[in-house]
């Protein structure tokens, strides 16, 4: 039994301690926004936040979440500036990798409010997209940074 907080709610995982969080979130909690892509931390589609830090849920055992705070794509609320920017620029194509891309971008903007191209390259290089949405992700991160800056001044 592992106790933690998922998207602000207390949760008890009744699964093997070594089960990756990905499957506990998807198969026990039904939070299917977090995806399975490779299983070996190579593609980033399973990215969630553990205490605000982006981690790969496919290689993070449930036990590592004990007493921690987890945020998934469902926990962003839908109106997060990053989500708004993604919508405004029509970033997704198939959309399968976008939960991970968005979670990575949210973490980047928390750390670097006005990222340069180099900052974005560094933060996003571990997140694969086969539809080729990279150019729009770059534009959307910059636009999200503007939206967040506007939020702060209002």
């Amino acid at each position: 039994m592992t106790r933690c907080q998922v998207n602000g709610e207390a949760v008890e995982f009744e699964v093997e301690a070594e089960m990756p969080l990905l499957w506990a979130l998807r198969d026990q909690l039904g939070l299917t926004g977090t995806k399975f892509g490779c299983g070996i931390a190579q593609c980033g589609v399973c990215t969630i936040h553990l205490n605000g830090q982006p981690v790969r849920a496919c290689v993070t055992p449930v036990a590592a979440a004990e007493g921690q705070r987890i945020t998934t794509i469902e926990g962003l609320g839908g109106e997060h500036p990053v989500q708004a920017a993604w919508s405004a620029l029509n970033v997704p194509q198939c959309g399968y990798c976008q939960s991970g891309q968005i979670m990575a971008a949210v973490a980047l903007l928390e750390r670097v409010p006005a990222p340069s191209d180099a900052d974005i390259d560094l933060a996003m290089q571990g997140y694969l997209c086969r539809c080729g949405t990279y150019p729009r992700i770059r534009a959307a991160i910059k636009y999200a940074a503007e939206l967040k800056a506007k939020e702060r001044t209002e």
């Binding site: 699964v15 093997e16 089960m19 990756p20 499957w23 998807r26 198969d27 026990q28 939070l31 299917t32 926004g33 977090t34 995806k35 399975f36 892509g37 490779c38 299983g39 070996i40 190579q42 593609c43 998934t72 794509i73 469902e74 962003l76 839908g78 989500q83 993604w86 919508s87 405004a88 620029l89 029509n90 970033v91 997704p92 194509q93 198939c94 959309g95 399968y96 990798c97 976008q98 939960s99 968005i102 191209d117 974005i120 390259d121 560094l122 996003m124 290089q125 571990g126 997140y127 694969l128 997209c129 086969r130 539809c131 080729g132 949405t133 990279y134 150019p135 729009r136 770059r138 636009y143």
Partner: protein, 759 residues
């Protein structure tokens, strides 16, 4: 949303009469000049899940009395945008308010069989082209029915009414009614035989960038992909598969894992064993622990190094070569032009110079981000599937065949797909899930592949080798013979259109472009009878043949001392539309602007799917370091449903093609795929993606395809650019095999240019 139950039961009966009796579709089929366009458009659905108070105008269209206009997209959303773009075509003719439109995912049904292809499939970048007129016709007919219902009710001439934003208005009396209030009455009316369609300048939704209906779900994690289907009592299946491509498991010991946590059943399926458990992780762990025996596969013994030798050796096998006739793609249906090998050989003999060029490309995997997945529920009477599939008609037939159920007892629901690229054309994983579900009847089973299984059990784009002989006179190409060797996709699929004695078009078509005006073209092919599973890969034939054809033209230009762009342009005088695309990309890329040493530009063209794409790649080469500065693309796909979606497809296709050109390569050792995941079959990453500049050409030509159109030209444009920069000819893909390493691109200029693009 209003309560649909507030509608009377009598209304529902009326609706069912109008909808289920197929009045709308039957009448449409009687429509004069386009009668055949609607043949077979009647649904074969036996169930009816329609809620009370919904007017079902056809399998494509339902207008609910609470104002929702539900439009089913006939083809599968793979990321190419049909979920929004196909409903929009109908909605425009209907004069629907886009805010009222709720796109609905399709299911396998005769109603969605394309009158043009006779198939219900998502392939060939054809969705818009093959459903455009049909969707317009349904929208236009439904609009007239709504108008007539209003006019009858008001006692005014229908001709005096007009429609906008899901409403009918009569200016004379100032009366107005919503489609929601008219729908039930309208659905009972006879269908107009020749509904008036809009003139293109009257379109309000087609041709613009408007809200995409799939985006909200995709940025919030709410979209249901194949892997996200959740049903009561659902079980999860993981596979154990043999190491060899196309291999089988001959025996397994279910007892070896019977006591592992969560395991419910173990059963043989096509090409493996399914282990069914209460969650996927437990199923996978048990599948990995299962004791199995493999039977030798036909691919056993195949090694990439010797396969490459065989491909090249086959090019010398004159006796085994079968010709591919020249097909006039500008006149679909015209007979293939007879081949004349002797004239080509005479041209070779008379040439001032003959170039002989050997090229090759590797096997390629698709690598959709969502691995193969299908959910199935089998009972004694029914089979229901939830699956991201590009071939729902054949998938449904496969499920009927496996279960022994009649076709109408099989319901196949199409989910959003996490990428397709041709991989989800195959129904192998669908078959396995039905077989697994049949072992635990009554309970839904979601069968999911691992990434390793996806990489090692794909239906690969075949490896090919080519030898191209080019006869050169003083200033032009006097003839060309190109021979290709490799596996035949159609042979592997037992495709009915494979003609004995004629090359498989998925190998040989467009190996020499028919559009270029030079004489004595001759294409032939040597088929290699390996049994490695091969299949359709984004842009299929062109994925290899653009590289071969457009590098050959480049080599010819250099040998002739001609500018590669100018030579192409001069050979396109009979194709002004194609030439314009080429001229546009050259202008936009600054083709003639001088470059410093070590830097060069390459150009390439492709045409297919009713569209034309030209690209210029600009690179620097410094010893083994390759920097891609910019990719410029010009594209003409005729009328665009949404310019922004076309732009997205251009960007995506270029990145997909570039990824393969740089690193795409599947290798075999004793019949087993060596690569297994993204670490050893790397794909293009975010920071490696160069700037991409796209010019969309305005056109009123019939809509062509966009989903595959920008994939083919990247590799040849890149290879030609590397030659221009360094004098080094790339005759083998991927580039990694030539020892070139990608350096971080310099970010100089970025931009997209498109009418109506968002900020």
């Amino acid at each position: 949303m209003s309560d649909r139950r507030s509608w009377q039961h009598g209304t529902r009966r009326t609706f069912l009469k109008a909808g289920a009796a197929g009045v709308f579709m039957l009448a449409l089929r009687a429509e004069g000049g386009i009668a055949t366009a609607y043949a077979g458009a009647e649904s074969d659905r036996t169930d009816s899940s329609d809620a009370a108070g919904d007017a079902r105008f056809s399998a494509f269209l339902e207008i609910s009395t609470d104002g929702e206009i539900r439009i089913t997209t006939p083809t599968s959303e793979l990321g190419q945008g049909v979920f929004s773009n196909l409903p929009r075509i109908l909605a425009d003719e209907l004069d629907a308010d886009w805010a009222d439109v709720v796109p609905v995912m399709p299911y396998a049904d005769a109603a969605f069989v394309s009158p043009i292809t006779g198939r219900h499939r998502t392939a060939n970048s054809e969705s818009v082209a093959i459903y455009y007129e049909q969707l317009r016709g349904i929208g236009a007919a439904a609009r007239e029915m709504l108008v007539f219902a209003a006019a009858t009710h008001w006692g005014v001439p229908a001709a005096e009414c007009h429609t906008t934003n899901s409403r009918v208005r009569h200016a004379g009396t100032g009366r107005e009614a919503t489609y929601a209030s008219l729908a039930l009455a309208a659905a009972e009316l006879p269908v107009p035989e020749e509904p008036r369609r809009k003139r293109p300048e009257q379109f309000t939704l087609i041709g613009r960038t408007i809200e995409r209906k799939d985006v909200a779900g995709k940025v919030t994690g709410q979209t249901v992909f194949g892997i996200d289907v959740r049903l009561p009592n659902m079980l999860f299946a993981a596979l154990r598969m043999p190491p060899t491509a196309g291999g089988e498991i001959s025996g397994f010991d279910a007892e070896s894992i019977r006591n592992m946590p969560g395991v419910v059943a173990v059963t043989a399926v096509d090409g493996g064993v399914a282990v069914i458990a209460d969650n996927f992780w437990r199923a996978r762990r048990a599948a990995e622990a299962l004791s199995v025996e493999f039977s030798p596969a036909s691919a056993s013994g195949l090694d990439s190094a010797t396969m490459r030798e065989s491909l090249h050796a086959a090019l010398d096998d004159d006796a085994a070569a079968v010709p591919f006739p020249e097909i006039d793609t500008q006149n679909v249906g015209s007979p293939p032009r007879p081949l004349d090998r002797s004239e080509m050989e005479q041209a070779m003999a008379a040439a001032r110079q003959v170039l002989t060029l050997d090229y090759e490309v590797p096997y390629l995997a698709h690598l959709t981000m969502e691995p193969m997945v299908c959910t199935a529920q089998v009972t004694d009477e029914t089979c229901e599937l939830w699956v991201p599939s590009q071939q729902p008609d054949r998938g449904r037939e496969a499920a009927a065949s496996i279960t022994g159920l009649p076709l109408h007892a099989v319901r196949l629901n199409i989910t959003q797909a996490g990428g397709g690229f041709g991989r989800k054309w195959e129904v192998d994983f669908l078959r396995q899930s039905v077989q697994a579900a049949a072992a635990v009847k009554g309970r839904p089973v979601q069968l999911l592949w691992t990434r390793e299984q996806d990489v090692q059990h794909d239906f690969y784009r075949p490896a090919f080798a080519t030898r191209t002989r080019i006869a050169l006179s003083d200033d032009r190409i006097a003839g060309m013979h190109s021979r290709i060797s490799g596996q035949s996709i159609w042979r592997f699929q037992a495709h009915p259109r494979l003609i004995p004695g004629m090359a498989d078009p998925t190998s040989a078509a467009l190996l020499i472009y028919d559009i270029y005006d030079f004489p004595n073209k001759y294409i032939d092919s040597v088929e290699i009878p390996w049994r490695i599973p091969v299949g359709l890969w984004r842009s299929v034939t062109l994925s290899q043949n653009s590289f071969f054809a457009e590098c050959a033209i480049d080599e010819a230009a250099v040998a002739l001392g001609r500018d590669p762009y100018a030579l192409r342009r001069d050979m396109l005088h009979a194709h002004p539309r194609i030439r314009h695309v080429l001229e546009t990309v050259a202008e936009r890329a600054g083709w003639h602007a001088p470059l410093p040493p070590g830097r060069g530009r390459g150009i390439a063209l492709s045409h297919g799917f009713g569209s034309i794409c030209a690209q210029v790649v600009e690179v620097s080469v410094n010893e083994d370091q390759l920097a891609i500065h910019r990719i410029t693309c010009a594209f003409d796909c005729g009328r665009k449903i949404d310019p922004d979606m076309v732009l997205a497809q251009m960007q995506g296709g270029i990145i997909y093609g570039l990824s393969a050109a740089l690193r795409g390569e599947i290798n075999f050792r004793n019949g087993a795929v060596i690569e297994s995941n993204f670490h050893d079959q790397p794909v293009l990453r975010f920071h490696e993606t160069p700037d991409i500049v796209i010019e969309l050409i305005e056109s009123d030509a019939p809509p062509g395809g966009a989903g595959e159109a920008s994939v083919p030209a990247v590799a040849p444009a890149l290879a030609n650019a590397i030659f221009a920069a360094s004098g080094k000819r790339i005759r083998r893909l991927p580039l990694a095999a030539s020892g070139l390493r990608l350096a971080q691109p310099a970010r100089e200029q970025r931009g997209e240019r498109v009418v109506g693009a968002r900020p």
